[in-house]
Subunit: 183 residues, 2 copies
DNA sequence: ACACAACTATAACACTTGTTATTTTACAAG
DNA sequence: CTTGTAAAATAACAAGTGTTATAGTTGTGT
């Protein structure tokens, strides 16, 4: 009874997300997305009410992508917070634009840093419990300090002021954890 | 022999810098600056070849502003790096847009983080020597770690994930320094 | 007083943005 | 095959950008 759709919502969202990873937020414009998808701007506004709705969808996809990244990241460290930290810093290094979107652009983020980080798996809660089990007396306090350090390393990677391998980072974080707990 | 200028370079630069502090980089457009100065866009292009030259001037002014901020900041701590750190974090809290410009937007910055930080006073060199004098064995290494922590706290303030007073920050940094040196 | 040159304002150009109106296209039911 | 309808393409609008061309204004040396 009608024409068959040739541009799906996935084509638009996936393309937008790919552009987000590579070129950052400011390049996700209606015409640029359309050009990359290979269509006019019209299908975008059929699927999304306006560009803001598309941006929100890209943001949500970025959150999911980050949480999957965390889940799949190899856990080689033994100390609390170290695996989470190495994964976070590695994410900042390999996905600079996504990191910026999720953890640095205060305006955009609908979800708090803690919410994104903790995720469905309760990553933060898990690590804090791990610390408590290992005899850490004030694990929340240690987490706060560790997170300042971890976030600092992640942010420094964005401006090329931190460049350690994951192995080196792990060692650094475990040293730092020991320093904080003996403090 | 000719008309007297009614719009000076200082009026343009000072207005642009004020807009940078309040509204951020993306709002320093020719027309917006002109409107705030109370003139047309023409005087801007008399004084600056193009907008990029104005942006560069604003950036340079921001560097100077930051270094003055550091110089004038009260030094109440005794440990190495703590005064520098408190001032840096305080700057991030009170001058979010400038902090972003100088230390977070990798693209724009012509000068490295170390260059800006060290400045004409040799702030970093001074602190490292202070640490050495106080018996710290590897002061450069401690500085690197401290700076990760300090930069982390500063970046967390931008997204409202860190909100301590300067006094509390000083205590935290001195604790952290002790932790790192005993590590 | 006049003329010249520097400064400023106005207007325009070319481009990009989000969004919408209009037209064309394609597909499936009758 | 015709027809209706949804999808897509084209084109346009309004707003905003840097930049420049043109015109007007103003102050000073002659």
């Amino acid at each position: 009874m009608a024409r068959k759709e040739s541009v799906t919502i996935d084509m638009i969202l996936d393309t937008s997300f790919a552009m987000m990873r590579e070129e950052g937020f400011q390049n996700i414009t209606a015409r640029k997305v359309a050009a990359k998808v290979g269509c006019s701007t019209q299908p975008i506004f059929r699927v999304y009410k306006n560009m803001e709705e598309l941006w929100d969808a890209v943001y949500d996809k970025a959150v999911q992508y980050f949480q999957d990244y965390l889940s799949l990241f190899p856990r080689t460290g033994k100390r609390p917070f170290s695996n989470l930290g190495v994964a976070y810093i590695s994410f900042a290094k390999e996905e600079k634009k996504l990191f910026e979107l999720l953890f640095l652009s205060g305006g955009m983020g609908k979800r708090s840093m803690y919410e994104i980080l903790n995720g469905d798996n309760g990553n933060v809660v898990y690590e804090i419990n791990l610390a408590r089990v290992q005899g850490c007396e004030e694990p929340e306090d240690i987490f706060n300090k560790m997170w300042i350090f971890i976030h600092g390393a992640a942010c420094l990677t964005l401006t090329n002021n931190y460049d350690l391998s994951n192995v080196q980072t792990l060692e650094l974080l475990e040293q730092t954890y020991d320093g904080f707990t003996k403090m």
